[in-house]
C-alpha cells in the first residue's frame, strides 16, 4: 500500500499528510460528551465500524466523531446529554459506522485509509461528476474539474487556524459516504450554476409575496391594456388565498407541487425525486391541486364573501397572461445546467404543464 494515493485526483501539491492525528482532528469547543450510559452503544458502533488497524484510528477518535455527529443532530443536547441518551443511542445505531470510520481516518490523515478511499470511491466519484455536470462534449473537463476540486478539499489542502481542514470533517455518518460525496458534488455544481446565473434579473425565493405586491404596483401594469383596478384586486385576493392554502399543505405535497409547477419537472422526474412511482406522483399531484383549489375557493367564498360569479371572474383573472408573470423572472434560462429540460428554459409562454 502506498503512502499516498498514486494520483490523487486533485493532485495535491503538498507532500503527504504529515499532520499529527491529534492536530488534524478538529475538536470543536463545546462538543457533546457522551455520558457513560452510551458506552455500550459506542462500543457497538466501534465494532460495526471494524476499522482496519492500519488506518490508525483509535476508539477515542472514533468516539469523538460520534459525539460530533450527535451534536450536529441534536444541537441542544450538549448541556444535558443524559436526557437525550435514548435519542442519541438511536442516532448512533442509525449511523453508517464503517463509512464514518473511513471518513474519520481519512480526515485524520491515515495514508492507508486514503488509499482505500481512493480505490473505493474515485471511479464512482468521476462517474457522479459526469452525471451531474453532463455528458455533452466539452463538459467532461467540467466534470473532471468538479471531482478534482472535491478531492482537493477531501485531502485537506485548506488550513484553518493552523489545522488542516478536511472536507471529511463534515461527514457525520448519516448517509453512506458515496451518497454524501455525490451530494457534495451536486451542491457545488448547483452553486456554480447559480453563481453564473447571477447576472440574470431576479434571484428567486426571496419574498415572493413582496414581489407580487410590487408587481401589482409596477409601472408596466399600467401599460397593460387589459389592466383594471378590479382585476388587480382579484389577483391580490387570489394570491393571499393561495398563499394560505399552500401553507397548510403537507410538506411533501407542497414539495411535489414545487417540483411540478415551479421547476417544470416531469412526473417521472418527480417520482424519482420523491421515491414514488410516476403514477403515484400524478395522482397525488392532482389530489393536491384539487385540494388547493377547493381551499382557495372556500376562502374566497367565506372570507371574501364572493358569489359564484365573482369567484369565476376572480379565477379567470389568473388565466392566461399575467401582466406581471413573475415566472419569467423567477425562472431564468439555465443554460448548460444539465438539470433542466430544454423546453423549461426561458419559457415565457403560458404555463405549459397545465
Amino acid at each position: 500500500m502506498t503512502s499516498r494515493p498514486a494520483q490523487p485526483i486533485a493532485a495535491p501539491k503538498t507532500g503527504p499528510v504529515s499532520a499529527p492525528v491529534a492536530t488534524a482532528s478538529p475538536a470543536p469547543a463545546g462538543a457533546l460528551q457522551f455520558p457513560a450510559t452510551l458506552a455500550a452503544a459506542v462500543e457497538r458502533c466501534w465494532r460495526k465500524a471494524a476499522s482496519p488497524t492500519d488506518w490508525n484510528l483509535t476508539r477515542e477518535q472514533f468516539q469523538a466523531a460520534l459525539e460530533r455527529s450527535a451534536a450536529k443532530r441534536f444541537p441542544g443536547a450538549q448541556s444535558s446529554p443524559e436526557k437525550d441518551a435514548k435519542k442519541i443511542e438511536a442516532h448512533l445505531e442509525s449511523l453508517h459506522a464503517t463509512d464514518l470510520a473511513l471518513a474519520c481516518a481519512c480526515g485524520l490523515g491515515s495514508p492507508a485509509a486514503w488509499d482505500f478511499f481512493v480505490a473505493q470511491f474515485r471511479p464512482e466519484l468521476y462517474r457522479a461528476a459526469r452525471a451531474i455536470a453532463g455528458h455533452a462534449a466539452g463538459q467532461d473537463a467540467n466534470a473532471r474539474e468538479l471531482a478534482d476540486s472535491l478531492y482537493a478539499d477531501l485531502y485537506g489542502l485548506r488550513e484553518s487556524e493552523g489545522r488542516r481542514k478536511s472536507l471529511f470533517d463534515y461527514f457525520h455518518g448519516r448517509s453512506k459516504l458515496g451518497t454524501w460525496l455525490r451530494a457534495v458534488l451536486a451542491q457545488r455544481h448547483v452553486d456554480e450554476i447559480r453563481r453564473a446565473r447571477r447576472t440574470e434579473p431576479l434571484e428567486n425565493e426571496v419574498g415572493e409575496e413582496n414581489i407580487h405586491i410590487a408587481a401589482l404596483r409596477a409601472p408596466h401594469l399600467e401599460r397593460d391594456p387589459a389592466n383594471d383596478p378590479q382585476r388587480a384586486n382579484h389577483l391580490a385576493i387570489l394570491q393571499a388565498a393561495l398563499a394560505a392554502a399552500l401553507s397548510s399543505l403537507d410538506p411533501r405535497d407542497r414539495l411535489r407541487l414545487a417540483y411540478y409547477y415551479a421547476d417544470d419537472r416531469t412526473l417521472a422526474e418527480i417520482g424519482r425525486l420523491l421515491g414514488e412511482h410516476e403514477a403515484t406522483a400524478s395522482r397525488k399531484l392532482e389530489r393536491t391541486r384539487r385540494d388547493v383549489r377547493a381551499r382557495v375557493e372556500a376562502s374566497l367564498r367565506e372570507r371574501n364573501k364572493m358569489s359564484e360569479a365573482q369567484l369565476r371572474a376572480c379565477l379567470e383573472c389568473a388565466r392566461g397572461e399575467w401582466p406581471f408573470d413573475l415566472t419569467v423572472h423567477l425562472q431564468p434560462a439555465r443554460p448548460a445546467a444539465g438539470n433542466r429540460k430544454p423546453a423549461a428554459a426561458g419559457s415565457n409562454e403560458a404555463p405549459r404543464k397545465i
Partner: protein
Amino acid sequence: MASRDKERDQGKPAADLLRRSLASAAGAPGSDIDACPDPEILAAYSERSLDADETARYELHFSQCARCREQLAALVRADELAGTAKEKHSRVPGMGWIRTRNWDWRLLAPATAALMLVIIVATFRPTRQPVVQAPQPLVAMNQPAAPPAAPGSSPAAGAVARMSPSSNSVNSKAASPAVPREIPEKKQDQADSSLSLRGRNFKELDKVAKPAAAPKSGVSIGSGNAVGNGVAASSDSQSVTVEAAAAGKPAAPVPTAVAPPDISNSASAGAISPAPGAAAKSARSEQMSAAVSTNPSFARTESVMVQAGDETSARILVRTPDPQVLWRFSSGRFVERSSDAGATWRVQWTSPNAHLVAGAAPTTDSCWLVGRGGMILVTTDGRKWKTIAPPADADFVDVSATDASSATVTTTDDRKFTTSDSGKHWTPAP
C-alpha cells in the same frame, strides 16, 4: 397527455396561480433560505434515512428552496448513474419496491409473455437433439475404438450441411481431415432430395440415408443426418432446418467419420457412417413443435429451425456403447449428459470461452472432448470433467479414444498425438 389536457381544461386558473406562487418561497411560513441543509442531510434524505420529523421539516424547506431542489435533482441523476437508485429504493419498507420509479404495471404483460416464452423454450429444450445452425458445422457422432476416417474415405456422408440460398457459403473448410471436402454429387443430390423432403415421412428420408451408409463392415452407427434448406423468411433472414435421422441401436463400437471442422467456420459437412441395418426409427422434419415433442422415440431425431446468424449453435452428439447414454455439447461451451437416450440432459461442464469441436466416448463413463485453443477435456467417472494439458498449442478438430486413459487427438493441420496415461504424456502419432 389526456390527464394534462383535462387539467388544462378544468383547472387552469388555479394551476396558473399555483405555478406562480410556488416559483418562490412565498406561501409557507418559516421560509429561510439561509438554512439550507448540509449535503449530508440531502444525501440522507435521498437515501430515505431521515426520520419522519426531519423529512417533513426538510421537505418544507425544499419546497421553498430552488437551490436545494436543484441539488436533489442533481443528486438523483448521480445516484442513478452510480447504480445506487435501486438499492436506495429497496430500503423503502413494506411494498416500497412496487413504488420504485421504474416499475410500471403496464410492463407486466410483455414481461409475462417473455417469461412464458422462456419457460416454453426451457421446458422443451431437452427433447431436442443435435441442432446445427446454418453457418456452423453439422457434426455427427463419434465412436470409440476407431481412428478417424481418412479424408474423403467416407464419401457416403449421410449428413450434409446445406445453406439456404441466401447463405453464401457452405464452407466445408478442411479444418479436419475427417471432413470430406467434397460430397459426391450423387450423394449430394440425394441429400438434396432429402432436404426437399421436409414434411415427408421418415421412410423416405431413410431411403435417402441408407445409400449413404458407408460400406464398412462392422460399422454400426446408425445415423443419418441431413440438413435441409430452411424456410427463408426473408432474403436477409434465412432459416435453416436441420433434419437428422439418428440410428436406432448401434450394434458395436464403430469407427466414425466425424466431421466437425472448426466450429467457427461458417458451415461444413459432417460425415457419418450409418451401420447397415441400423435404421433410423423416425424422423420429423417440420416445425419446432414437432422438434419439441416429448415422445421418447424422438430423442434420436430432430428437426429444429435455427435462425441463421443466431448465436445458438450446433449441438454435437457423442454416443457411447450404451445407446441410453449420450453426451452432447452445445455452442462448444456446454457439456451435457443424458442417461435416457436424450430425453433429459444434465449440464456437467461449461466454460464461456470454450469451443469444443469433437468428442469420443469409449465407455459410458468416460469421454474425451477436444476443441479450439488446445482444449482437451476428459471425464473418467461420467460426472466430473478435467482439463488436460494439450500436447501442442493448436486447435483440435478430432479425437478418438479406446478407453478412459488412451486417446488420439488431431489438430487442424492434421497432426496427431496419442496418450495412454490420461494425457500426462503425449506422443506424436504417425
